[in-house]
């Protein structure tokens, strides 16, 4: 394995991300933070939502921001570079097995998703305070869940980026990401679906449920959440599945 090439590509992605930092920031955070402001602040202050909703919302917003960032960082360049600009040729011709080009993309996406996730906590806290009760009882579990969520977003980005046609980018957002977010237990805990037993079972195929519930379990354990061991196992499985599918799709795209 040629690590020099691998790290040079990582340096390239970091360089591009730094150059586009402000755009990325607005793209990632503007919508979730407005949501936090309206639902966490306006609705709570005016009495439509209970005070506790602030703390409940935080992990969900963190999950959304991470997934959105990872998918965006990996899928969008891949869709453009494979189908339109062919920019990726340059890296496919670098002296490294081509699957590692995909692995590098996943690593870069994971890092960006991690940064996004860790930035949401203070940002949302500033908007929501006072009244947010965040307690990390077990930093190791928190780190594991966060890492798995970030990896999930980047692997999902790889799989989507290598399967979605350029004309269907809009559909990718409206048919895949939006339902995932709304049925991903981001704005409500999974237990809130108790009175919708069928829906409650169906949403379990949505990996974002485990991301939100996992973050909820490690950040605001005072709310009911899915058991953390189950969350860790299922997220690991989703990561492995999406990575394998993504690598396969990537190979198919890269070689005619």
């Amino acid at each position: 394995m040629n690590w020099k090439t691998f790290f040079a590509m990582l340096a390239r992605d970091a360089h591009v991300a730094r150059r586009n930092f402000v755009v990325l920031l607005l793209q990632t955070f503007l919508q979730p933070l407005m949501f936090v402001f309206i639902f966490g602040r306006v609705m709570v202050r005016s009495g439509y939502m209970p005070e506790a909703y602030k703390s409940l919302l935080l992990p969900g917003i963190m999950a959304i921001s991470m997934v959105f960032t990872g998918v965006w960082a990996v899928a969008m360049p891949l869709i453009a570079e494979f189908q339109f600009t062919r920019e990726i040729e340059d890296r496919l011709l670098a002296p490294m097995e081509i699957s590692w080009v995909a692995v590098e993309k996943v690593l870069a996406g994971t890092l960006q998703a991690l940064i996004a996730g860790l930035m949401v906590i203070p940002a949302a806290w500033v908007i929501l305070r006072p009244g947010v009760t965040v307690t990390v009882h077990n930093p190791l579990t928190f780190a594991c869940v966060t890492l798995l969520v970030a990896l999930f977003s980047a692997c999902g980005g790889l799989a989507l980026g290598c399967s979605v046609n350029q004309q269907h980018i809009g559909l990718m957002f409206s048919m895949v990401l939006t339902p995932m977010i709304f049925f991903g237990c981001t704005y409500y805990p999974w237990s809130a679906l108790n009175s919708f037993p069928i829906l409650q079972k169906v949403v379990l195929v949505n990996p974002l449920v485990y991301a939100s519930e996992g973050l909820r379990g490690t950040l605001v354990p005072q709310f009911s959440h899915l058991p953390l061991p189950a969350v860790l196992v299922v997220l690991t499985a989703f990561d492995a599945l999406l990575l394998a599918a993504g690598l396969r799709q990537f190979w198919g795209k890269a070689v005619s």
């Binding site: 020099k4 090439t5 390239r12 360089h15 990726i88 340059d90 011709l93 670098a94 002296p95 490294m96």
Partner: protein, 337 residues
């Protein structure tokens, strides 16, 4: 020094071929193709080449002849359906990383990294190939100078003209000093001045012992650069040799394309007997292709034979010995068709 070999190379696309390879219709046409049940396109049909180390070798052929597919296979980007391809001692498909170290590739369509400036493109490319930072800075400077891109070095390439992108693509391919350079239609769309600069740079690079494979459907370019040429059509090698050898292989060398009011077998037979005429072939447009040792001197005789046979001579086109004539001779089609 490193050579290139292919043996009985075959490629059948079961979906639409990639950009610049195989059939070259516009994207919309190719999309339509995709919807048909498993269209099979034979892009290469048993191509064998043996390119010597240090040679400039040209692949000449019309669009869709299989040139880009050949380059694709030799550069690890297309999986061959059959046969083998070697760069030096390395099997291209089995030892991809070793091969990628030896080659530099300029694709038919510019594929520059749009998120970077011109200088950054060269620097990161050098980094991918493991050059240390001093070496890559020095090499990038000299290439920016050589390709006359220094004043645009700090700009993002998104706004570059086609010619500038092409120059930068070639500079990038040379960045890691590859032993073998692939150029797929390197001067397509370039202005004459840039074309000459490019030819000069290619010759210079070849003089340092590097092997160069270029594809073109421009005779002038093949003539100016290539030590040897293979003319390919429908994925097969139909002629091979130096440009001079190939041109000499056309009977007579001159080609007169004639068009008549109507086709007359008797007239064609008479034309055959004219002094210096080597071969006469009817072509599909009520005319004849006449291969001969000389050109203009025959016109008067042709005109009088035609009028004696009661056939109107409508058009005459004389070509001097050229690769175009050669292509036409082998395939009955013009390179430009």
């Amino acid at each position: 020094m490193v050579g290139i070999r292919t043996h009985d190379l075959r490629k059948i696309y079961s979906s639409a071929p990639p950009f610049g390879a195989g059939s070259s219709g516009p994207p919309a046409a190719r999309d339509k193709l995709k919807k048909q049940p498993k269209p099979e396109i034979v892009a290469l049909d048993g191509l064998s080449l043996d390119i010597a180390p240090g040679e400039v070798f040209g692949l000449l052929g019309p669009n869709g002849a299989g040139k880009s597919t050949t380059v694709g296979i030799l550069t690890t980007r297309v999986r061959p359906t059959g046969g083998t391809a070697w760069i030096g001692e390395h099997d291209v498909w089995k030892e991809q990383v070793a091969v990628k170290r030896l080659i530099g590739v300029v694709a038919q369509r510019p594929n520059l990294d749009f998120s970077l400036t011109a200088r950054e493109i060269l620097l990161f490319h050098g980094a991918y190939f493991g050059l240390d930072s001093q070496a890559r800075a020095a090499r990038a400077e000299s290439l920016l100078d050589r390709f006359k891109l220094r004043d645009r070095a700090e700009q993002m390439v998104r706004g570059f003209s086609g010619g500038m992108m092409q120059r930068l693509s070639i500079a990038r391919a040379m960045m890691h000093d590859p032993q073998v350079l692939f150029l797929d239609e390197p001067s397509a769309g370039l202005d004459p001045q840039t074309k000459l600069l490019l030819w000069e740079i290619i010759r210079e690079y070849n003089q340092t012992g590097k092997t160069i494979l270029l594809t073109t459907h421009n005779m002038e370019e093949a003539d100016a650069l290539a030590d040897r040429l293979a003319i390919i059509d429908h994925g097969r090698n139909i002629a091979l040799g130096t440009p001079e050898e190939l041109k000499a292989s056309v009977p007579g060398g001159y080609l007169l394309r004639l068009r008549f009011g109507h086709q007359s077998a008797e007239l064609l037979q008479r034309l055959q007997s004219l002094h210096g005429v080597r071969e006469v072939r009817a072509n599909d447009q009520d005319g004849a292709d006449l291969y001969s040792d000389h050109g203009g001197a025959l016109i008067a005789e042709i005109a009088s034979l035609a009028s004696a046979a009661g056939v109107e001579l409508r058009d005459v086109h004389i070509s001097e010995p050229s690769l175009e004539n050669l292509f036409l001779h082998h395939t009955g089609r013009s390179l430009r068709e």
